[in-house]
């Protein structure tokens, strides 16, 4: 190419005169070529560009000169110039030597195929790491990262009441209307009752379904249109309208997915309601609701500012931040406070709806994601160690190839291809595993995490998996590759035929083992803490005897059960008939069954009304029938339980009666004397003056992992003003299992009230168990992760030691020949292994002390630095480490000195 001097030619050429059309075409084509030129590798750019411009210029000039440069010719020329782009790409790509890559790949596949045990071990180890990570990421993505499935969901907020001494409270209906009318921060502001169930009886199979009441703009606020029919009209918020909107799930299940149900009537709590619409499936991802009824504003019970029943759901106006909206609401709160004294210290607080849905599960999930990340690290450590061992055993091969002229890059690339290929196989395996795990999440954790319906292995998770796989492939491939190829050729050649001189590799593998042990310790410490906490919590005395007790909810229809007398008559007869069932010991009804929610109110010692709201005390209210304490076997520590006698001792209409309080409360209120005989004033809508007649044992009513609350026990005979008894939980102690007992109870109920279902049937043991389900879920998951990490670390340690013994066969043989005893040889190998374990434990303990702080709030009854847990975890690692040492150590003792020496 020495005869080429294109620059000179080009410069002088451009002075040449040609038509304006030719000049314009020339400029366009030249611009294209110069753009494509950037793709071409630097050292070829000039020649590449000159060839194109030379041809273009020649063609343009000859066409122009011959008068043939019409529009078609110009277009063809530009089209042909577009080919410069694929040409440039081809030049660039061929620099990468595609054929060489294929060669590498084929070779890598062959190498991996020839060592199936090695390859399978790598694929399984890495696949488990990748699979667990992908599954965990899929969950985190669905729950934490992906926006809610509603349009502009970032503008959706959740609103709740907050006041001095209370948070997360509901909003009263009059307050809600005031806020909705006055706030300028929202496009729309809707309300929904957080609880509420009704009995649906289309056909003769009554069923209790979740049926919150919502404001008419609820669906519009979410941005969801009905699938069929309509949503509620603004007019349906006023007074009571018998209309209902069905959820997709209920419509599918109970109404055979028939669009013609819109306009028909169905029976809800015994009254006909018109079905006006069916909502799409998307609501089911977020809300458990099965049907919706309109909020009845401006009727008697909903006009009281002290009755709080709504939670807010708002859509912020475009550009309004949560802080701005909060400021707006605070102004309204002060305005309302000035007008309504009962609103003192009351305000509306808002947070983004997504944060509300996700709640504190974000912390748990991120910790689990971190934990599973550590598992992947340990897995990578193992694989890297395996690769190092293999690179060492292939030193001769590599040395020969280097001697034959292979460059270092070429060898590194070859080894890298092998590891990336394995990583790709591991990714495929891991992805399958992730799909299986995500199925498992649907089955096990459906009710424990928000938004699990949305969890699936999606494209983001796949990308995440591929990214992990590539990164892992490169990381665990690069280090051994550089390591193996970076050796001095002469040394390597001398080592051909002998597999010695692996010192540097071993040091690296030692470091990997130390890191693995350290990471495992962090995970084990976390899992150990959760396990111990879980074990302790499970053994917390719940304060009642759950064995043999079954429970169910019974809600009496309000059209026939209007007065306290009618309701009490029902319960008296019903409980008598239940008690008569063979196998039933006791039966009672209560408004506050342990583990099934509660409700609280204010109280004060008679004669000592609180000076301000800040001094108000509250306690849970439990209204029960006579045999409640006997049925639940809640001990009466002092005084007497409530009973039939209290029917005559109370006078509901003047508001005085008798009461039993819980032990902790009694201790606090009356530290120096007996509670019995003292008097309290309880706010039951109106003041209720009560004499304390007994003190009951504390009950962990909100689960064994929560403090036992203060409880005020009231007799159902006296509490008509607070609870009319339409909503009660039934508790029955008896022999036999839940279903055996339930059948006759259901028959009794059917005899007395055919339309009322026995809902939420569960044994108390089930409820106790369910209350700990979230805790059990995370404990199990973290334990599984820790177990995998421990296993991998042990395998890693074993690998290193086995390799060491092979490497040092000759040395050990000589030692044995010189009279070393078995014990000395064992000590040599085990000592080396345990030194690594000890160092790992030391580093891991430091890491664990820092890491377990994240578990605060998840462990109960035990400190995060519980010495027992740490001791056990360290013990476990020591035992595991010894187990890993044992086999290689025993093999070392069996080395025959003669065979070892003959190796030379």
């Amino acid at each position: 190419m020495s005869d080429r001097d294109p620059r000179a030619g080009l410069e002088s050429a451009t002075e040449r005169a040609w038509s304006a059309a030719a000049e314009a075409t020339w400029r366009r084509c030249r611009a294209l070529v110069r753009l494509a030129r950037l793709i071409v590798p630097r050292e070829q750019r000039d020649a590449w560009e000159d060839e194109w411009l030379g041809e273009l210029y020649y063609r343009l000039a000859s066409l122009d000169g011959a008068g043939l440069l019409d529009a078609g010719a110009r277009r063809d020329l530009v089209a042909r110039t577009l080919g410069a782009l694929p040409h440039a790409l081809w030049v660039r790509r061929s620099e990468w030597r595609l054929d060489m890559l294929m060669q590498d790949l084929a070779f890598a596949a062959r190498v991996n195929w020839k060592r199936p045990a090695f390859s399978l071990l790598v694929i399984a180890t890495l696949g488990i790491g990748i699979g667990a990570n992908s599954a965990m990421f899929s969950i985190v993505n669905a729950v934490l990262i992906r926006p809610l499935p509603f349009p502009h969901s970032d503008r959706l907020i959740y609103a709740f009441g907050a006041f001095r001494g209370g948070d997360q409270a509901a909003i009263s209906m009059p307050d809600f209307l005031d806020y909705r009318a006055r706030s300028r921060a929202f496009d729309s502001f809707a309300g929904r009752t957080p609880f509420g169930t009704v009995v649906l009886s289309s056909g003769d199979d009554p069923e209790r379904v979740i049926a919150p009441r919502v404001t008419a703009n609820f669906f519009k606020t979410l941005g969801v249109r009905p699938l069929y029919g309509r949503d509620f009209l603004a007019g349906e918020e006023e007074g009571e309208h018998k209309v209902v909107v069905l959820s997709y799930g209920l419509w599918q299940r109970r109404f055979a997915a028939d669009p013609r149900v819109v306009g028909t009537t169905t029976s809800i709590d015994g009254e006909p309601h018109t079905i006006v619409g069916v909502m799409p499936d998307v609501l089911g991802d977020i809300f458990p609701d099965q049907l919706w009824l309109p909020v009845p504003f401006h009727i008697d019970e909903t006009s009281v500012r002290r009755f709080h029943m709504l939670r807010g759901l708002g859509r912020l106006r475009d550009g309004v931040t949560i802080a701005q909206a909060q400021a707006d609401l605070d102004v309204i709160a002060r305005q309302l406070e000035a007008v309504y004294p009962e609103n003192a210290t009351w305000r509306l607080r808002i947070l983004s709806y997504r944060d509300y849905i996700v709640g504190d599960s974000s912390q748990v999930l991120l910790i689990l994601l971190g934990a599973v990340g550590l598992v992947l690290l340990v897995a990578c450590g193992n694989v890297a160690s395996l690769m190092l061992a293999r690179a060492t055993s292939r030193q001769s091969e590599i040395a020969v190839r280097t001697a034959l002229g292979a460059s270092r890059t070429r060898i590194v690339r070859q080894l890298l291809t092998e590891s990336v290929l394995l990583a790709a196989a591991a990714a495929a395996f891991g992805l399958l595993l992730a799909i299986g795990l995500v199925h498992g999440v649907h089955a096990f954790a459906g009710s424990l995490l928000p938004r699990t319906a949305e969890v699936r292995v999606d494209s983001t998770a796949v990308l995440f998996t591929v990214a992990i796989a590539l990164l892992t492939g490169i990381v665990f491939g690069l280090v051994p590759a550089l390591h193996a190829s970076g050796r001095d050729l002469a040394t390597a050649m001398r080592a051909v035929g002998r597999a010695t001189g692996a010192g540097r590799t071993l040091r690296l593998r030692d470091a990997l083992v130390v890191a693995q042990v350290a990471l495992s310790l962090v995970l084990l410490a976390g899992a150990g803490l959760l396990l111990r906490s879980f074990w302790l919590v499970q053994h917390v005395e719940p304060g009642f005897d759950p064995r043999g007790v079954i429970s169910a909810r019974i809600t009496l229809p309000n059209n026939r059960y209007r007065t306290h007398d009618v309701i009490e008559r029902f319960w008296t007869e019903f409980l008598q008939r239940v008690q008569a069932i063979p196998g039933v010991e006791n039966a009672a009804a209560t408004t506050m069954l342990p583990l099934a929610g509660g409700g609280d109110t204010y109280y004060y010692l008679e004669g000592q009304p609180p000076a301000s709201d800040a001094d108000k005390r509250n306690a849970q209210v439990n209204v029960s029938t006579d045999d409640y304490f006997t049925t639940m076997r809640i001990p009466i520590i002092e005084g007497r339980p409530l009973g039939a006698i209290d029917r005559t001792l109370g006078n509901d209409s003047v508001g005085h009666g008798t009461i039993v309080i819980s032990h902790g409360m009694a201790e606090r209120l009356f530290p120096r004397g007996s509670a019995v005989g003292s008097r309290l004033v309880v706010d039951l809508g109106k003041p209720f003056h009560a004499e304390i007649v007994g003190v009951a044992g504390d009950v962990h009513a909100f689960g064994q992992n929560a403090e036992s609350p203060d409880i005020l026990y009231l007799s159902s005979h006296q509490s008509g003003s607070f609870s009319n008894g339409r909503f009660m939980s039934l508790a029955v102690r008896g022999h036999g299992d839940k279903l055996q007992l339930a059948a006759p109870i259901r028959r009794v109920l059917h005899d007395m009230e055919p339309g009322v279902p026995l809902a939420n049937l569960a044994s108390m043991n089930d409820l106790l168990h369910d209350a700990l389900a979230t805790s059990a879920f995370r404990t199990r998951l973290l334990t599984a992760f820790a177990a995998i990490a421990l296993l991998l670390a042990i395998v890693g340690l074993y690998g290193v030691l086995a390799f060491t013994v092979t490497q040092r066969t000759r040395e050990i043989g000589v030692r044995i020949a010189l009279g070393a005893r078995d014990r000395a040889v064992l000590a040599l190998v085990i000592g080396r292994g345990m030194r690594l374990v000890a160092l790992g434990i030391l580093l891991g303990a430091l890491g664990a002390v820092a890491a377990v702080r994240l578990l605060q709030g998840m462990v109960f009854q035990v400190s995060t630095l519980d010495p027992l847990v740490f001791a056990m975890v360290i013990g476990l690692l020591v035992v595991g480490g010894l187990a890993a040492c044992l086999v290689p150590a025993r093999r070392a003792t069996r080395i025959s000195p003669i065979a070892a020496l003959r190796q030379e």
Binding site: R4, S12, D50, G54, E55, R80, G83, L85, P86, H87
Partner: protein, 110 residues
């Protein structure tokens, strides 16, 4: 790209054009009616395989005509052999093996 393996049909037509005395990239495109994005990579491959050689025309010629110099391609001996083998390969495929081998394909005139 070894001698034994036949070239792709597109490469054969490019090589045939060069063997026929067509020397410049754009002219080869005209002759083969293949797009530029195909012809140039083929030329690159043929050159790398040693089947064609490329040269730049003398700067003096270009200067005389007041234009940048052009690159031109010539077939090599190896290229002639490869072309023959490939042509033979496609002929036997097409003619069921009855074709007469022609080891020295005559350049087709343009």
């Amino acid at each position: 790209m070894s001698d034994a393996r036949p070239l792709s049909p597109a490469a054969v037509s490019v090589l045939q054009a060069i063997a026929g005395g067509i020397r410049h990239g754009f002219d080869i495109m005209d002759r083969t009616t293949l797009p530029s994005g195909t012809v140039y990579p083929i030329l690159g491959r043929l050159e790398r395989a040693g089947f064609v050689r490329s040269r730049w025309e003398a700067a003096t010629v270009a200067q005389r005509e007041k234009r940048p110099p052009r690159r031109y391609y010539e077939i090599s001996a190896a290229g002639t052999r490869a072309l023959a083998i490939s042509v033979e390969h496609y002929r036997t495929l097409g003619g069921g093996g009855r074709g007469t081998p022609r080891l020295n394909p005559k350049p087709q005139r343009s």
